[in-house]
């Protein structure tokens, strides 16, 4: 059934796998980026395919639908102008008050728009690839947001022209978060179930935490990677775990992780 050559091939592959798996982290990362860079010429192809799909969708719209969409966008634009004007007033007031109290000035965010070019091929991780890299000033552990401002993850494995973004719900992306209730309870957003892409679990909440469905969840700013007050999602339900020593809340993410096309990378969190 098995010849000697089978054992030799298997032995060689086991040896190779063991060597590759036990390489120093830096060497593995370089090797991974090197092999991954072979896919760079195909990134354009993926982008073009997405553009063709979007154009096809545009062509399918009728004139009536386009006019309606245009009207809605005009209204939204006016509303946003008003909101910006109000926000600018608040910002000026905030700066003046900070000066009066002697608090440190907040730096304005520097953000860069990136396109999502590839998604995780394995089912047990939650990552995407974006088309910005070291060349564009990216580094590891930069927060990544949706165009609507919801946090979706952080950068990891940054190469010259592309980066991997570890999304919320992946076991390697833990975020210190706060619930917008009276007690301002804090916990950690961690891994999620393999099937539910919209939900994450918030652990290490106080056992006395009073949580209600619909309460907002934002970043707490603890941990140093993610700035404070970035919206994450809303509480769905909560129950006590670990023999009642802590509370676990299920949080519905504000961003749809399956429909990411463009994302913002915060360059100076």
């Amino acid at each position: 059934m098995f010849k000697q050559s089978h054992y030799i091939a298997l032995g060689l592959a086991v040896l190779l796998t063991t060597i590759v798996l036990n390489l120093p982290e830096r060497a593995t990362a370089r090797l991974k980026l090197g092999i991954g860079s072979l896919f760079v010429p195909l990134f354009g192809l993926a982008g073009s395919a997405q553009q063709v799909a979007a154009k096809a969708e545009e062509l399918a719209l009728t004139r009536k639908q386009l006019l309606k969409q245009n009207h809605t966008l005009k209204l939204e634009n006016q509303e946003l102008h008003l909101q910006i004007a109000r926000a600018e007033t608040f910002e000026r007031e905030n700066t003046r008050l900070r000066q009066m109290v002697g608090w440190q000035q907040q730096k304005p965010w520097k953000v860069r728009l990136a396109n999502v070019v590839l998604r995780e091929p394995a089912n047990w991780w939650r990552t995407v690839h974006i088309d910005l890299g070291v060349r564009d000033g990216l580094s590891n552990n930069l927060p990544v947001l949706t165009p609507e401002g919801f946090l979706i993850g952080r950068t990891a494995s940054v190469s010259l022209t592309r980066s991997q973004v570890v999304l919320l719900g992946d076991p390697n992306c833990r975020v210190s978060a706060r619930i917008e209730n009276e007690a301002r309870d804090t916990g950690v957003i961690g891994a999620a179930g393999p099937l539910d892409g919209e939900m994450v679990e918030m652990r290490y909440l106080s056992r006395n935490a009073i949580l209600k469905p619909g309460q907002e969840v934002v970043t707490s700013g603890l941990g140093g990677v993610f700035p404070k007050n970035l919206p994450i999602g809303k509480v769905v339900d909560a129950h006590q775990v670990d023999y009642g020593f802590q509370t676990l809340a299920r949080v519905r993410l504000g961003a749809n992780l399956n429909a990411l096309e463009e994302v913002w990378v915060v360059m100076n969190p």
Partner: protein
Amino acid sequence: MSWTHTLLVVAAAFFAVFLQAAFPVTRWALGAQVDLLPPLIVYTALSGGLFPVSLAAVWGGLFFDALSANPLGTTILPLLAAGILVHAFRDLILRTQVFAQVVIGTAAGFFVPLGSLFILFHSGQQPMFGWGTLWQLVVMGAGGGALTPLVFRFFEWINRHFTHAPLAVTSFRSDREIRRGRI
């Protein structure tokens, strides 16, 4: 399996991984992305020797892990184990039968990701794992079963178009020729 055929299999592994990452259609529809590498390994194991199997497993695994958050090298061993196992029993398998291709593709599609998860847990990683994983494995197994005959058809089509057609066997046999004498 010729050198060009082996290179074609490696190129197919490259594009398979890219397609999986660029167009995760089954993940949106069914909650799990179907893996294209196990059907490719089954085809290689039933059509070629151990060298093409090893090459396809090593390169396919490396391509997959380079785009994934898996530690590099995780996918090589399960792919190779599946390839060697199928290759060892190839004489007992009716490789041209669609049913056989579907059954072996399903088994490979189910056990290759299971092997990757086993390696990940043993190397100290914590991938997403739960009851949902069982559903994902079922989808991957079914996907592997459905795709394996397609992979066979694809390579048959390639072979038909890019290799010389075999000489047609004529029914003429020189030993059966009736030699007529002069009447």
